[in-house]
Amino acid sequence: MIILRIYRRDGHYDVHQLDIKPETKLLTLFEQIRTGIDPTFAFSSGCRHGICGSCAVKVNGKPVLACKTEIGSFRSGVLRIEPLNSESPKIDLLSDFDGFYRSFSSFPDFLEPNGRPTKENFLPEATRCIQCGICYYSCPSVSYDKEFSGPAAALKQDRFLSDPADTITESRLEEAVGEVYRCVKCYRCTEYCPRSLDPEKAIENIRTRCLTRKEETIGTFHTKALFDSIYHYGKINETFTARYLFGFWGSLPLILSGLPFLFKRRVRLRPVKAANLKEIRRLLEMEND
């Protein structure tokens, strides 16, 4: 026996108590409800097998594709089913995806080719993205920072950046450097992506590319500060990185704000260095091929 609590348009939850095989897909169940119980019950679907990205919903807070998810795959016997995007006006299991679709237009969303198609096999992960919006609507940075274009857009951007045929790397990076450092590395995108893609890795890749730009931003500078700290101590040293980032005077307030921690006997003043530091330095110096 499974109990479903389904979000409906005026904010209440419909409760259904069903005796149903645990391997039934959520989407099948929604269809049954719309067919036999309530023809006004709105949800969206398309391909029925996880390749169109129309049917994402949240089950007990976890975003999933309804067509690929079995009712019995949750530990709890009570399923709370809600639309994916909790910010927009919601109607049953539908929510507004405009923000997500718009996120792709924050950069040139097409290849700017040099005329010669590549002779090497190049199969970017982004081709398998089905624009389901799951990563975007579970990204905490997106929900607090409306300017962030989010994980799926980064995946797509990384796809163009790594395409050997693309010619506008510079302008793409200029755009990207303002985007990718807005991510807080919570790995939700990678965790929930129903296609097992890794948008977070795409963000890392773009960040690495950003380091090649001449112009520094707080993001690239921060990465370099940590890199240098590890180079000098083998460890991250907070006062070192703060001074590196903000200069001596600039870092002073930050360092002073750590004083209470000092009094609580939490801080060790003399920096520790890792033993065999030389190995670490040489690893970090090594040329990549």
Binding site: R188, T190, E204, R282
Partner: protein, 262 residues
Amino acid sequence: MIDPIVFFPGCMPASIARHQYRAEQKILKKLDIPYHECPEFSCCGGGHLQDADDIKFLALNARNLAYAEQHGDVLVTGCSTCYRNMAETAFRLQNERLRTAVNARLDAVGAPEYQGKIRIRHMLNFLASPEIFSLLEEQTSSPRPVNVLPFYGCHIKRPSSILPENPDGNMEKLLTLCGYLVRPMRDPYTCCGFHGEITAPSVSQALSAAVSEEAVEQQCPIIATVCPLCSFNIESHQMRNKTKRKMPEIIPFEELLLTSLK
């Protein structure tokens, strides 16, 4: 007698979160768990070395794991980000080709070879595992009926495809044993925002504040954490945004555990 472990404290507990470091060491001593801490350990990359250079990130972590392999079969760390980074390294280096390439680098600088044998565990999962838990059961005393909000954060759980263990319920299990009243958190795996502290300060602030707020709402004077970065971020945002209200204290779960050990 528990098998010896390799203890990887992480940069932060060893430098500016020494309360957590001390608590961890004391617990291990009280439980009579022999441990070794390699002086050669470097930083795990702090979640940002991979932004600079992916292969160097792997190499640095593989070096740590290689040193650890010389002293035991299990590595335990109390920092979620270290745990995630090392787990990612171990996961990706299951690939023969990549491991050979990384080992060639280690060899070139004279570091030991990484064999891919060591098991990587988070302190929370380690202490909650059955054999350690039974030791703890014998030793706990003096229940403290205080409300606690168990905050897990991201890196102990995500991405679950590469992490060796699922931490679900472990903090509840340990803290309940110590007599705390553990409240159910709405989303215990939400992000504290630490890794955006410098580059996305407003998001970082909002995320930390949300955790503190939930504790206030749930009337918890204590937020228990499993990661020094979470503790740091939530606490420092509390300090920077002073309010008149009494804000909850952020305490590493190890410290909470220690106070009720005999």
